[in-house]
Symmetry: C2
Subunit: 159 residues, 2 copies
């Protein structure tokens, strides 16, 4: 594909339950969730210039951890809230190589299937790198890093 | 899916040219190719019991590196030679969780597409973990680890 670009879809990390947080919007990352996101972020083969995030707290916190590892800027993107589809990616004004989108399941798995044709399992805190054409019409998966892989080298405490 | 099992398709590492080796069968891993395969093998989230390999030298050497990292046994599998398809995986007598198949492109990318529906880019030395049903009829990709990711934590010299 000409003008290929790498975009990264990143599912937020493990978060406390809705009951503990008081609402779905306010669920925050657990200590382990935060550690796992950092472990995965450290394995990204590119430095993301920008991390776009769903406005929900567990996604914002995930974006902040990724941004802290790589010195990226974070931008709230209401289009990435639960229920998002490829339109959320296409609505970003300046898509650049290595941008990250932090969002939710099943939305992200469905976007990956829409782009690559493929069924993937996106555990909480997993990053999927996709080589796409400039119109985000189709792509190929180039990496898929779940916490189970990243914590082989950057261990996190249980629970 | 009931009775899910994880299988790992592993593309052999970077190898010298056919000209340097004298034949395609005898192409051996470069120093960097060997280092990259070891880096990827160290990130596998499971210990492979068995590593099945294409009989070509670059695949056998790749299998030996993986087996050395995890203490796995290595078995030659002529069905994994160039031109292989899913039949090569199905012909293995005892499929067990975590088994690795070392083979060639485009065969492996095509097998992944046949199992998951998805287009992936499998650089030399990349491992793809797929959760499959017991009949190897369909699956979901759970990890995809290229050397560009693994060498973030286990660096290899250039060239």
């Amino acid at each position: 594909m000409a003008n290929d670009m790498l975009i990264i879809l990143f599912r937020h990390g493990r978060a406390v339950s809705k009951e503990e947080a008081g609402s779905d919007e306010e669920r925050w990352l657990t200590k382990r969730g935060r550690c796992e996101v950092e472990a995965v972020a450290r394995l990204l083969p590119v430095k993301p210039p920008t991390v776009y995030t769903s406005p929900l707290r567990r996604a914002r916190e995930t974006a902040e951890v990724i941004a802290a590892v790589h010195g990226s800027s974070v931008r709230l993107h209401p289009g990435l809230a639960p229920g998002a589809d490829l339109g959320a990616l296409k609505s970003v004004e300046e898509l650049r190589d290595g941008v990250v989108f932090v969002g939710h399941n099943p939305d992200l798995e469905e976007m990956i299937e829409a782009l690559t044709g493929g069924r993937v399992r996106l555990a909480a805190g997993t990053a999927a790198g996709i080589e796409v054409d400039e119109n985000l019409a189709e792509g190929r998966l180039v990496f898929l890093i779940p916490p189970s892989v990243a914590t082989r080298v950057h261990p996190c405490e249980e629970a």
